[in-house]
Amino acid sequence: MILDLARLFINFFMTGLFSIGGGLATLPFLYDMSDRTGWFTHEELSNMLAISESTPGAIGANMATYTGFHVASLPGAIVATAGLAMPGIIIILIIARVLAVYRNNPYVESAFHGLRPASVGLIAAAAVSVLQISLLHWERLGAGTWTELFHFKAILLAVILFILTRKFQKIHPVVFLAGSAVIGIIFSFAE
């Protein structure tokens, strides 16, 4: 038991330490972990990815919780999730301290002048990937007619949501999220 927990911690700590760029960046490491340890199969991994995309929280953290639970129940889930999060926490705390000292350094300020638009570019790229899975049938590319590429109900909902969210900015996003879930059910969005 203790040995399992130690192995879980070390494996997920290493994953957290080496995956740069968020949850999806942990995937190659998780595939590798699956091959080495046999804790979970590749198929379980892809199922988990689907579940993670539709449940709250970070994808990598969800994978750690799930794997840890299967290997060593609740203590395993805690140890694996903590192991994954820990490198990031430690490194960010160090960076924050360094940054506090150099905050007003002109070089640091210029660096941020370049970083911010890059940050927006990355968010826009994320929007594009969500666009592919929510408004388009990307998997049908090259098969059938071009109109089959579009998920028309979803596009209509997106336009309506865009107008509503901009018009009623005081309303909390979760209201729109919940509303969209209901609309998705009523109009059978998963085609």
Partner: protein, 195 residues
């Protein structure tokens, strides 16, 4: 103590409303910490987010740690991260224990297909808002466009792009009058971007 509790609750809320990983966190986080609580500015979130992209670990964890640390020191960083991770943790435990096959229910697929559309719109809104405050000319627009294209079309690792953008920012800062700059980058920090 009270502040830590408030941090935990705020990040618990953000964690509970984040569907689909780190990126989906931003619109919710931005609402909670800049609009509702007025703890930090949108610019700071962008800085933290950019740094979170090029440092090891999960973006959501890194961003939570940054914000929490800024408000209440290292303990705040840890508490904010714990708060963010807790809802997902509980849900996954529930999934693992009770219904390993949630995805077998068709209604779940329909609901999440709807939610994804909304996540898309929320991310676009965040983009517009953050773009307005960070894109102030040709140089910054160039970085935005190149990063977007490089990620979408060429799957260039985000960490690399963030680091290059930081270097470009410094190089551009070295040249006092800054009319314009392209996407080419120069690795030698001593030279400065000369045209």
């Amino acid at each position: 103590m009270k502040q830590l509790l408030e941090l935990f609750i705020s990040f618990f809320k953000v964690g509970a409303m984040t569907f689909g990983g780190g990126y989906a966190m931003l619109p919710i986080l931005e609402r909670e910490v800049t609009v509702n609580k007025k703890w930090i500015s949108t610019e700071e979130i962008m800085d933290y987010y950019a740094i979170g992209q090029c440092t090891p670990g999960l973006i959501a964890v890194n961003t939570s740690t940054f914000v929490g640390n800024k408000l209440a020191g290292p303990a705040g960083g840890v508490i904010a991260t714990l708060g963010f991770l807790t809802p997902g943790f509980l849900v996954i435990l529930l999934v693992a224990v009770l219904l390993n096959n949630v995805m077998d229910y068709e209604v779940v697929h329909h609901a999440f297909a709807g939610v994804r559309v909304c996540v898309f719109v929320l991310i676009v809104n965040t983009c517009i808002k953050m773009g307005k405050s960070s894109i102030d000319g040709l140089f910054t627009f160039g970085i935005f466009a190149v990063v977007l294209a490089a990620t979408v079309f060429f799957s260039v690792p985000p960490a690399l792009l963030v680091i290059l953008a930081g270097i470009l920012g410094v190089l551009q800062g070295l040249r006092r009058p800054a009319p314009e700059s392209g996407e080419k980058q120069d690795d030698d920090p001593g030279k400065g971007g000369l045209s």
